[in-house]
Amino acid sequence: MELADGRLQGVVSSGSDIGRVYVSSIAAESYAFACSTNNNRPCGGARGTFCNHIRALVGEAVLQYGAERVARYLKAETPGGEPDAEALVSVMTGTRPEQGDASAAAPVFSRFLRHLAYLELEPTTAPLPEMQWFPATRTAA
């Protein structure tokens, strides 16, 4: 999942089938949304409004980045107080956003697959001095 290229986008698991994932996205400002399967079929739930995958994506993003940062990135202002995932979704769907273009899904999905394949690589015990540039951060995890 990432806030990049003017979108919140990421891969969301199917609730029922472990071999299926969805690539969901919401554009900043317009909230134009898109959702398609890993086989590039449009998601049946994302007609007219946000499907469950897009809602789940907002929930995950709020967990990872915090509601405020997500709201700021998507330019979604929630009335009063601290935003949360539910308020964000309701503000965005309230503007009746358009269906967006799903062409960005392919690179997002291929990156997801590439990283999934990392699980099959062997750990090594030869030192990687370059990792000194990437300290663990208690706050990010």
């Binding site: 990432e2 990049a4 290229d5 698991s13 472990i18 071999g19 994932v21 890993n38 690179p107 990156r111 697959l113 590439r114 990283h115 999934l116 394949a117 990392y118 699980l119 099959e120 690589l121 062997e122 750990p123 090594t124 015990t125 030869a126 030192p127 990687l128 001095p129 370059e130 990792m131 000194q132 540039w133 990437f134 300290p135 663990a136 951060t137 208690r138 706050t139 990010a140 995890a141």
Partner: protein, 464 residues
């Protein structure tokens, strides 16, 4: 420990870093159509290496780059000059650290090993990508350009001999991708990206990433603590330890690392789970035990290249006892010439008798004999019982002395605190081998479940 020396100015440091900064600013706008200010930055770098073996190459490279005509060799020469400058900064800082700790330095072993230069084609592809980056500049990056690193990384990762290059490029490219397009970027991490670009470019040269384990060591390994490094798709755990050689020679500081690529969703306790099976040392560290080594391979830089077959978990060994009794007599390892960079400074020290202070939400500092030492509690891994609060309440700290953003800082590896009038030690790597702690065990369980789902998914999606 002479903490008073930590805040003394280091001669020549500011001048060297100013030349580095001048070059780094050149990379912001890129070398496609260089402006006069960029020519000046390139000249500043060239000026600094006059009188070194690079003196003939670098001015020519700077001229070509200033004219917008830099080829790969020219960019490599500029990267070499910047590396030499950072190397001199590194040397000045490690000399200072040696004065602070009062410890002897190991003699550099100069044994030659046969050159091994794997992956020439993919390294050439990496070099071409890095040169394109330098031409585009950080303000010129876009997704298409950054995505060019993807196939290079995928081709490198399966070969363990190219892990250094692959892991660096992967982390660097991900950072760049998150900042695309560069044209609208508000804040450019100028020094950091120039650091990563420079190291990545030099690592594409044949033999540059060579860390041959030319020797072996036999003796008792007394762990001090674990340092964890990670980016979204890689993790490395590095154990710092004192080795007591069985031949009676002087104790020496060594490290043992284990690393792995990973999906970005594997975090926290999942990192320990990924690394644990490959290095029994993590289990020994978690239990607070020494390890007996029998002919363990070691590099000239004091990095053990861990092999479980050559290690046997031994008796309990308190890291604080090791630090109090042996650390001050142990020799510090040398750094490989190309790896000399301030970011690599991570020197085990024991700090005691301090007053911990924290102003509101500001950083924690230890005041030792009237001198302030900043404490970096953020570097403690997520799956660890060592919290910033515990560090703030501590009376003794075993940590790594680092140099960050212009000052020395202390990264805690473990602290001693007093609980109900008893001294207890809390270690950053306490959960490295697993844990029975309630919070830790819950994190372990969640990580096990999420990795199981990922592996099943990988099975289904990757072999379709």
């Amino acid at each position: 420990m002479r903490t008073d020396l930590l805040t003394d100015p280091v001669d020549g440091l500011d001048e060297a870093l100013a030349a580095v900064d001048a070059f780094d600013r050149v990379l912001v706008a890129g070398l496609l159509r260089p402006q006069p200010a960029q020519a000046a930055g390139l000249a500043a770098l060239a000026h600094f290496v006059a009188g070194t073996p690079l003196a003939s190459l670098v001015p020519e490279a700077a001229d070509k780059a200033a004219a917008g005509a830099a080829g790969e060799d020219h960019l490599v020469a500029l990267a070499a000059a910047r590396t030499a400058l950072m190397g001199s900064v590194h040397d000045a800082l490690t000399d200072r650290v040696a004065d602070v700790t009062g410890r002897p330095r190991a003699e550099r072993s100069t044994r030659d090993t046969p050159a091994d230069a794997p992956g020439a084609n993919v390294l050439a592809a990496a070099r071409a990508w890095l040169c394109d980056l330098a031409r585009a500049g950080w303000q010129g990056i876009d997704h298409e350009l950054v995505a060019g690193a993807g196939p290079v990384v995928s081709a490198m990762l399966p070969d363990p001999r190219l892990r250094r290059q692959a892991t660096l490029l992967d982390g660097f490219a991900a950072e760049l991708a998150a900042s695309c397009p560069g044209a609208t970027l508000e804040h450019v991490p100028v020094r950091r990206w120039a650091d990563l670009w420079t190291r990545a470019l030099l690592l594409t040269l044949p033999g540059a990433a060579r860390t041959p384990a030319a020797d072996t060591v036999t003796g008792r390994l007394l762990p001090l603590g674990v340092d964890v490094q990670e980016h979204a798709t890689a993790v490395q755990a590095q154990v710092h330890a004192v080795l007591e050689p069985s031949d009676g020679s002087a104790p020496r500081l060594v490290r043992a690392a284990v690393s792995a690529p990973k999906p970005d969703t594997v975090v926290g306790a999942g990192l320990w789970q990924l690394l644990r099976p490959r290095m029994s040392l993590l289990g020994a560290v978690g239990e607070g035990r020494a390890v007996e080594l029998d002919a363990m391979p070691v590099t000239a830089e004091g990095d053990l290249v861990w092999d479980d077959e050559r290690a046997r978990t031994g008796e309990f060994a308190d890291p604080f006892a090791t630090a109090r009794v042996i650390l001050s007599t142990a020799t510090d390892p040398e750094t490989a010439p190309l790896d000399r960079h301030p970011v690599g400074i991570a020197v085990p020290v024991l700090v005691e008798g301090y007053t911990a202070e924290r102003e509101d939400d500001g950083p924690l500092t230890f005041t030792v004999a009237g001198h302030r030492l900043a404490v970096d509690t953020a570097r403690v891994p997520a799956a660890s019982p060592l919290s910033p609060e515990t560090v703030a309440a501590s009376g003794a700290c075993l940590g790594l002395l680092r140099w960050d953003a212009g000052e020395f800082v202390l990264q805690p590896l473990a602290v001693e605190t007093t609980v109900r009038k008893k001294t207890v030690a809390v270690h950053a790597g306490a959960w490295a081998g697993g844990t029975t702690d309630k919070v830790g065990a819950r994190a372990e369980k969640a990580a096990t479940d999420s990795v199981a789902v990922l592996r099943e998914r990988a099975g289904k999606l990757l072999r379709k």
